[in-house]
Symmetry: C2
Subunit: 480 residues, 2 copies
Amino acid sequence: MPPFGLLHMRAWASLFGQLLRPRRAVFIREVRVHSQGTRDLSPQQMVVREKILDMVIGCFKRHGAKRIDTPAFELKETLTEKYGEDSGLIYDLKDQGGELLSLRYDLTVPFARYLAMNKVKKMKRYHVGKVWRRESPTIVQGRYREFCQCDFDIAGQFDPMIPDAECLKIMCEILSGLELGDFIIKVNDRRILDGMFAVCGVPESKFHAICSSIDKLDKTSWKDVRHEMVVKKGLAPEVADRIGDYVQCHGGVSLIEQMFQDPRLCQNKQAREGLGDLKLLFEYLTLFGIAEKISFDLSLARGLDYYTGVIYEAVLLQTPAQAEESSNVGSVAAGGRYDGLVGMFDPKGYKVPCVGLSIGVERIFSIVEQRMKTFGQKIRTTETQVFVATPQKNFLHERLKLIAELWDAGIKAELLYKNNPKLLTQLHYCEDMGIPLVVIIGEQEMKEGIIKLRLVASREEVAIKRENLVAEIQKRLSES
Amino acid sequence: MPPFGLLHMRAWASLFGQLLRPRRAVFIREVRVHSQGTRDLSPQQMVVREKILDMVIGCFKRHGAKRIDTPAFELKETLTEKYGEDSGLIYDLKDQGGELLSLRYDLTVPFARYLAMNKVKKMKRYHVGKVWRRESPTIVQGRYREFCQCDFDIAGQFDPMIPDAECLKIMCEILSGLELGDFIIKVNDRRILDGMFAVCGVPESKFHAICSSIDKLDKTSWKDVRHEMVVKKGLAPEVADRIGDYVQCHGGVSLIEQMFQDPRLCQNKQAREGLGDLKLLFEYLTLFGIAEKISFDLSLARGLDYYTGVIYEAVLLQTPAQAEESSNVGSVAAGGRYDGLVGMFDPKGYKVPCVGLSIGVERIFSIVEQRMKTFGQKIRTTETQVFVATPQKNFLHERLKLIAELWDAGIKAELLYKNNPKLLTQLHYCEDMGIPLVVIIGEQEMKEGIIKLRLVASREEVAIKRENLVAEIQKRLSES
């Protein structure tokens, strides 16, 4: 059993369909990383990406989402004061006259700006696009300065927790569909966090700083986080210990009930609201059949400033062997509720409540690429169905006429751009590229009004009447 | 007959498939243009774009192309001295430490850089992506500072004119497939232009300047172009007149023959080579069945510096009525041969000959959007197949259970995010959004173990056994 034992060969074969039947080893091949922290994507990588994106977008469409697009750059002011400490990672454009511009940092802020600018009060949309961040590239973990985001969001005033539950359902459908292995979605609520800080005695001015310490608990031990809070951020040790009692809790509905009974926490109005909503959320998650995938986790904090309610983050569960072999794969999807962001862009402060999620497709791409490498999985990078060949010299004209006929019939076809290619070279090309059918024309065939059709896999050759060629090819392709 | 009489309703209906059957008027709706010369794309625009891009990409795949991607920004030095006078339109990134970067201006230069950097000697690739140019936006003609390009290129050393002919075949397939109306592809060769300038007596130092004057002949009269060449660019009047004799010529193979006989032109080696290649090209175009779409046009110059051989540009032919109503639609696809560009990026100057084309998809999008507006054509922006409704209060739990069952079966389904929506509101939503099927559950149905399925178009309702629901829906969807 290979180290990444979670991938079922058959499932992947069905996901990748006929693309996975080449004859030559065309493994995932990464092209060179650029000094500026970006990279090109090879045809092999593009095939993997397109298959995964198709599945993600298919799920978004299944839930009735529309697609929009926004420009790569926004006014600089649109992006300021939205990302907390990470604002330093924003790429600015040079001032060449006109407004100051910055490359977008995520797809959420442009979406909120879109809603406010176009006075849209209600919308279920998805958006797939590139974003840019000036991070120090840690290429091993598949982090680059340009990467793709896939977002789904529901904007509008609705009855509580129904859209939020649908977002979690979508995350489950996508992660199950991609067969990345077992996963869990941690859920918390910003109001519970704030309530918890308040009842533990954290001064309000330190909420943000303590929140970002808590955010490190998925990578760092409680001991180290406690040390940071007390020594670096000046929290009283007994306050830290009170927080510690909470953030080490995670569980299901019963934990919500337990927190409701907690004598300190239940005195805080915000915490009570958050707990009430989470309870309702779990009711809906049970009806959706996904409650066992969700864990109420008081240590989940999420870095971004704009969240106001429920927050969530999906992580892959690794077997001990995997955990040893690979670095922390971390979150593969995340999101939450942000009811105040749109109002920041509306001249009158009109609010549109929003909840949404982002699929960590770059991490998923690199996991899948890694697994395909491990399995020596091969990838076809073209979809060519038929190759037009000849064993004879001076047959270019016939080949060109014939291939135009195939193209005009919608058949995916190629030939070699040579006047007089050798037959063996042509047949090798087909085997290399995984092209299933070869049409062979020569003088003898011309005389007899036939054409030879070669099946590359079996090397079998059949004679077909020239006028039946297109119909015969279409029949064979539809059968395969 | 509406002014854009070239669009066949039935053909478009088949192109857009079932997306064109909504009940509510959702016409193309443009969202607000930004002060920075960019714009958001609405769901309606995205649907049109995706359908057109699918068709373009389908054609690229039919010709055996692989897809690659490159980053939005390149090293600034990669883009310098590639675009002639247009270099001033390049967007630079702010110097925030590290290399100086610029947003890509087209997809051709990044492709050449990709080939050189990865030492690829042979590749047939397509690339769909955004590019950025700091042009003064002329929004009426659909020009923005961010726009999409669709490129197909063949790199490698091959026998002459076979890949070049395939590029022209691809342009014909795409323009015919999109049914934009009649079109013509103008063809010329940079070597013929240079030869023509030489034999007319243009000093070599003025080749580029005169070339860009010639480039204006599609928008400006010969008289004005002649004036510019003589008065502004200091060309002797008799030299200008000699050029005038040539650039007003266009035709088919017979014009090539005529130019071969031209006593001055045939003395120039470069011109003879260009004419020889064009003759061969027409031979292949005839075999491809597209020769009547191609016009040898001595006035075609193309602006970019990097072309070295055959160049081409497709323009839509307008009826006089259209020409009066609309501004010049200009070129909808263009390209040519650039044998020297890859060598500029190789440390040893190793050359990889290339030929390619770019589809002017932004212009095509705006033509199609304009036509759909003219025809009052409606567009569905979601693909939802089934809506889950109830006539009763307190049925949210049942609705949630049911919709999860549909989603898990791969059915595209929606419900209203309300605890107790009115039945009429729910049914109106379906009619508005063009959702074909409604599943209705209530107490009576629960008791009888059935469910009602409503066909929105006919308002017919049928009772179905609860356990057969998914199968019945799948059957009806596959039939429609």
